[in-house]
């Protein structure tokens, strides 16, 4: 690997980080706007930037839309006083927000965003930063590091409310990781049929969904997985660790300024990754419709919609639309339902989701084996 290659990789990484950060910032805006929409309010509609906001019609429209709000929010986090209370364990206290944020950014590097056919060579290309063969395993492994952020912040804060939040969070996230992983296994059993090269790559999962999306063939796994993702990202109805009304913010009670901002944005980064994985595993990735791929559309219409830059843009666009939909879904659920109690969350995890996930795995393993026997 020469210097240019490294530079290109570096640049691509930077672009992805910037894009993910922007998505996170605007998810926060979306959260505020969608919640206000659900609740019959206006939401942020005042923040303006001197030059941009003064453009006759568009500036006013963007201001009303709240487009500049995330900048103001981010600026606020930057310029507020960063309080480190005297009673905290400084090293872990500072480390925790970083751990909250980094895994989400790392996992995004192995998420494939789309696929197209190279116009020159006719080979299939994937839009991805690092197409590692262990794909989903890497995502789970790195994402599960996120729980350390919460445990560390809860413990290092050396204060009672964060401590309770940290305990709740660690128990919850570890419990739901099991069901989440088990829900994904049938998908990979299906993808890794005998005779195919064994892989855990997400690209292959999407390719396997050219006809049947896995949400259609494995709805139970999809539901279990989505519920587990809600718990993993600490979103309502599973936002035990934060639960504003009894723990007043939980593990990040003692945090202020940009450290709090890291937790805050980290949550949305995790949500984004979660939405990506849901879309990839169960909702056909960058395929526009079940049974319809961009390749099919190209064959029907004769337009090169799966070739070159256009193909890449369309595929990534389709994928992005799905991710945005699931982000919206996360927000939608949050503003609709009440919150579970801590022990109820644990009960659902261990007595509800886990048995269902195991049963689902066993049934699908047998079913897939029978299908393959019949096919052979």
């Amino acid at each position: 690997m020469n210097a240019t290659d490294i530079l290109i990789r570096f640049g691509l990484g930077l672009i992805v980080i910037v894009v993910v950060m922007t998505v996170c910032m605007y998810s926060v805006l979306a959260e505020r706007k969608v919640s206000s929409w659900i609740q019959g309010r206006l939401g942020p509609n005042r923040t303006s930037i001197p030059l941009l906001g003064n453009i006759p019609v568009i500036g006013r429209f963007l201001t009303r839309l709240g487009v500049f709000q995330p900048l103001a929010d981010g600026g606020k986090f930057l310029f507020k006083e960063d309080v480190i209370p005297a009673h905290v364990n400084k090293v872990y206290f500072v480390l925790a927000p970083v751990i909250a944020f980094v895994p989400a950014l790392v996992t995004i590097s192995v998420v494939p965003f789309g696929a197209y056919i190279d116009a020159a060579t006719g080979a299939a290309r994937t839009v991805i930063l690092a197409n590692v063969d262990v794909g989903i395993l890497l995502i789970f492994a790195v994402a599960s590091l996120g729980v350390y952020a919460i445990i560390l912040s809860g413990w290092a804060s050396n204060s009672k409310y964060p401590f309770l939040g940290g305990v709740r969070a660690s128990a919850q996230m570890i419990s739901y990781e099991l069901s989440m992983t088990l829900a994904v296994l049938p998908v990979f059993i299906w993808v890794n049929a005998p005779g195919t090269p064994g892989t855990l790559s997400l690209v292959r999962v999407v390719e396997a969904q050219a006809d049947w999306w896995f949400v259609l063939t494995q709805p139970v796994a999809a539901v279990v997985f989505i519920i587990a993702i809600f718990a993993e990202t600490n979103r309502l109805p599973f936002d035990m660790p934060e639960s504003e009304t009894d723990l007043v913010g939980g593990y990040h009670t003692e945090y202020s300024s940009f450290k709090f901002g890291f937790f805050f944005v980290g949550e949305y980064a995790n949500m984004t990754v979660g939405a990506c994985v849901i879309a990839l595993l169960f909702f056909g990735g960058w395929h526009p419709l079940p049974f319809v791929t961009w390749g099919d559309i190209a064959a029907w219409t004769g337009l090169p919609v799966n070739v070159g830059a256009l193909g890449a843009v369309l595929a990534v666009g389709t994928f992005a639309a799905k991710v945005l939909f699931f982000l919206f879904f996360f927000i939608w659920v949050r503003w609709t339902v009440p919150r579970f109690r801590y022990d109820q969350v644990m009960r659902i995890g261990w007595r509800g989701l886990l048995p269902v996930a195991i049963a689902n795995l066993v049934i699908y393993a047998i079913l897939i084996a029978l299908l393959e026997r019949a096919g052979a």
Partner: protein, 412 residues
């Protein structure tokens, strides 16, 4: 010197293991409040937790103590009206009415039918306002933020109506001893009727969002159960008492303000848990709307103050400077206050939070010798140490929300 060491046999070791706890555990003492989102004001709960389970709960009150009862002894009966706004500050109109009736009972004043009807009307509006907030905050405590915003939108409309009626949105001070501050404005009743038409769909929407919601049921059913006997023994009143299955409603049992003329049901719970308290409040909003519609349909004409009360009311400003009689009356009112006969009176009204009572001892003159306020929130809160033990931390916010107390009234 012997270095012999005896190894305990298996039996002794297992016995020792059974005695010693698996982990060294200690209880966590934690302060909830006085500034905490689910304590609704400045209540402080001193909690002792075993993990997430509450083993002891001591409410520490008094953060909003202003000495209202002592203040009352140092001012005339008229001057105390604004202080009643600040008792249960979520239903100031109902407090105003309760205080006015108590003093009128002392002065043996009879208010005309129109005044009574208006008072009943504003009491029911205050009830809707208070219950809307109570339900919204309760839902928010269980995590359903949106319900809170829905109820607040409706409450906003009510406040606009209050503003039109009294000139203030929050601290209304609308009643006077022997009457009201002013008559209802032109066309106001129509706007109240329109509000009633608008609030019912919202109540139905809350119903649809919460009543059969699995999560909400999990959070409230069987939580914070108050038995019939306990509810009576702790002196609970209002919706909290009725949710425990005691059909006590002062509007039915000891009617005032002409409540006997209106048809309404008293919703009663069966189990006395958080869910029942929610259901009772939800139904009470519907019943209040029913009462308001009847009042509007039968609003009597006539004066809105008792004829005898003219000696209590401040005379018109222009008359004070031109007429001797009014000047003297104003002077007497300001310096000595309205003259009341000696005696004792206790009156309690069915306020949104429960029975708000005023016990007044008068030795004649314009100032009460002693004024005691029976605050329903204080009694509702007193049962907390009993209900909270054994529940989880998250249940506390549900219980606090369902008890629907106001610290302004509790601390007085």
């Amino acid at each position: 010197m012997s270095t012999e060491y005896t190894f305990p046999d298996n039996a002794a070791r297992s016995a020792a293991a059974a005695d010693a706890p698996e982990f060294e555990t200690e209880k966590l003492t934690i302060n909830m409040g006085p500034s905490h989102p689910s304590t609704h004001g400045v209540l402080r709960l001193l909690l002792e937790l075993d993990g997430e389970t509450v083993t002891r709960c001591d409410p520490v009150i008094g953060y909003l103590h202003r000495g209202d009862e002592k203040i009352a002894e140092n001012m005339t009966y008229n001057q105390f009206v604004p202080y009643t706004d600040r008792l249960d500050y979520l239903s100031p109109l109902a407090n105003n009415v309760a205080y006015a009736i108590a003093v009128e009972r002392l002065a043996h004043l009879e208010v005309p039918p129109r005044c009574q009807a208006i008072r009943a009307l504003i009491c029911e509006m205050a009830r809707i306002s208070s219950h809307l907030l109570g339900l919204g905050v309760y839902a928010m405590d269980t995590g359903a933020m949106t319900v809170f915003l829905y109820t607040f939108t409706e409450r906003e409309k009510l406040y606009t109506l209050f503003e039109e009626l009294t000139g203030a949105r929050f601290t209304t001070s609308y009643t006077r001893i022997g009457g009201l501050a002013r008559d209802i404005p032109e066309g106001w009743l129509g706007r109240v009727a329109r509000f009633c038409d608008g609030v019912l769909p919202v109540v139905d929407e809350i119903d649809a969002l919460l009543t059969r919601n699995r999560i909400f049921l999990d959070r409230t059913e069987g939580i914070g159960v108050i038995s019939k006997e306990d509810a009576i023994a702790w002196g609970l009143t209002g919706p909290n008492l009725r949710a425990s299955g005691v059909p006590l409603d002062l509007r039915k049992d000891k009617p005032y303000c002409g409540y006997e003329n209106y048809e309404f049901d008293v919703p009663v719970g069966t189990k006395g848990d958080c869910y029942d308290r929610y259901l009772v409040r939800l139904e009470e909003i519907r019943q209040s709307v029913r009462i308001i519609r009847q009042i509007i349909a039968n609003m009597p004409d006539g004066p809105w103050y008792a004829e005898d009360a003219k000696k209590i009311f401040a005379p018109p400003t222009d008359k004070i400077l031109t007429s001797m009689e009014e000047l003297i009356q104003n002077f007497m009112l300001v310096t000595e206050g309205p003259q009341m006969p000696a005696g004792e009176v206790y009156f309690e009204a069915e306020n949104p939070k429960g029975a708000l009572g005023f016990y007044i001892i008068s030795r004649g003159g314009g100032v009460p010798y002693r004024l005691k306020i029976r605050a329903p929130s204080f009694c509702s809160l007193s049962i907390l140490p009993k209900v909270a033990v054994g529940c989880m931390v998250a249940d506390l916010s549900a219980i606090l929300g369902s008890l629907d107390f106001v610290m302004g009234e509790c601390d007085r």
